[in-house]
Symmetry: C2
Subunit: 406 residues, 2 copies
Amino acid sequence: MKTIVLKFGGTSVGSIERISAVAKIIREAKKEAFPIVVVSAMSGETDRLINLANEIHENPPKREFDALISTGEKVSAALLAMSLNKIDVPSKSYSAAQISMRTTSQFSKAKIINIDFTRIEEAIQNNFVPVITGFQGITDDGDVTTLGRGGSDTTAVALAAAMKSLRCDIYTDVDGIYTTDPNVVPEAKKLDRITMEEMLELSGQGAKVMQVRAVEFANKYKVPVRVLSSFTSGAGTLISLEEPDMDTMEKAVVSGIAFQKDQSKFTFQGVKDSPGIASSILGPIAAEGIEVDVIIQNISNDGKTDFTFTVSSTDRKTVEAICNDQLQDLDYDNLLIDNNVGKVSIVGVGMRTHAGIASRAFQALARASINISMISTSEIKITLVINVDDVNNAVQVLHSEFELEK
Amino acid sequence: MKTIVLKFGGTSVGSIERISAVAKIIREAKKEAFPIVVVSAMSGETDRLINLANEIHENPPKREFDALISTGEKVSAALLAMSLNKIDVPSKSYSAAQISMRTTSQFSKAKIINIDFTRIEEAIQNNFVPVITGFQGITDDGDVTTLGRGGSDTTAVALAAAMKSLRCDIYTDVDGIYTTDPNVVPEAKKLDRITMEEMLELSGQGAKVMQVRAVEFANKYKVPVRVLSSFTSGAGTLISLEEPDMDTMEKAVVSGIAFQKDQSKFTFQGVKDSPGIASSILGPIAAEGIEVDVIIQNISNDGKTDFTFTVSSTDRKTVEAICNDQLQDLDYDNLLIDNNVGKVSIVGVGMRTHAGIASRAFQALARASINISMISTSEIKITLVINVDDVNNAVQVLHSEFELEK
């Protein structure tokens, strides 16, 4: 039987009224294919639980923390299953443990390894719509893990991949992917289609509509994803597997501007430039599951080099601790930490065949007197690290420069 | 290693402050034996979840209902484990699923079948105090079940039996078992010791301190139980396995007066008196997991008899439905239902060897003009069914008659 995975975020199931509305969306979707539903916790619930934990312990044991906050999705899954039964759509809720959603044992940052979909298939064969708790899994020992904020997206895409579903629909409180955040640029435009690669870059750079790991998953397993609103009707944005045709490419060289404000920049000045220096610095950081983004190593000078990278500010303290503990034997002159930085990225598959995008961007920013401190480029993205206070202005300047409002 | 099971009810873990206080009680108890902890949901939480369910569905599917309300204990277990770690008592929380607490598949009224204590023993060997979710279990299919209100007591006693623990301490918001409810009789006295049989009768008759099934379990598996307060210090009431010695018996022929107000009385008048009539009436009711209490069948007259029993008022509608559906072929003249009844019980092991307790009780009630509509006696209990409006008065009269305040 053809299936479709529908994922509903926290605001989509934030109240009894919202849950009832979502049940009706699922009943409607059942006309297209058999729905497999993934839910987040009711909005506010995860924060409520985190606050309880923090009142008890400033650094709660991670195993207990995950056991605690994973209860939120169990509540919303059971309530949504009830709501579906109420409108005569037979349904059963399943926790991650019940469908053996195996993950690594990195609490709060676990990664999905394997899904046993026997029970889901059993439910479908008996005409029960399965409602599955997003955001969580279990280790081989049966301990509950969570996948990190936004992990429900990953659950949904992983299920769609495992079940070979037609599509994965991510219902959220926005009606699609925009050229940039409309709060910063009111002229920002909704995109009807976007390539997986562009979405990957936009999402990774903090477009916040969908979790980056989920997009990677979708990309890897070729799962078509649609992002749409559970509050308003509309087709949302389809994240397509195919490249756009030439016409589209001609029209949109740049598809969007992404940005992220809470960044910290670490610079090891005067590191001894020997083979493996990058991995000896970044290895212990990656081992903690921390994502390192822009990484720059300058040309060597007298056998010494400067090594710079950025991480999310939420990881700053952990990275500092790693620098002080595990990297204390590293041979360097100075460690600079700048918490006052942000990132702006110009994203577009069209950039592959169009030269001059970078210089056009640099000129536009120069005219606006915005100083660039780091530059990193890939085939479909140019990322600029700048002062956090310049981020909004830079996004507006670039959005206008590439005429994304048209 | 010697273990002790400590169970904390909803008010005992009702706030962050209460959870911290409970952690200190556990740290103290660890000096006597290795604690195995069982927790209820934070007070108010289960009701909050039930209200959410009822907002969605007036009769929510029971499987989903249990999945929903079982989240409350997961929250309090994780928070208490955090709180223990905070005061340097290593601890891990476990859900019923994680320790394979197998139950029957009667949702909301499941019964414990089997406990796999591998993980608990593993925790203890590694010096982690296990904090286990009370009130719940899983079916062979891995569906979450709940044991009914007060089921956490049963979880605790079952664990104490399985682990051959020294004792099971039930922490609650009362400081022990009283001769009767102090709200009805202000002179009611706390008992230092009570036999299991007496407790069974007191609890079954609605003493409300401990769930009847838990006391039965304790009785069956010879688990010594202590009931005490987590709010005030004090040794509580020990529910002993041994009979009291002669001295104690001489002093206290009657140990307490139990009562229950929300009762319904069903009378089948003129039932054809044939073998198996009782089981054909009570069988379908028991099959629904409903407890039938006082049962009376009068002497047969012309091959016909009157058959009367009482159930808790919460089960009244279900029993009515059974009478109308499954018992429609039963041969009887009339079905009377009286929802205006209550029960009062005089309990005491001393009654076994003391004649005249019953007649003394009847005389005292007659002097107070209280009419008795049904009488049921056992070796250690006399139960009287009376008008619900007379219950408080009857309790006071009997408490005074047997000088329980002394």
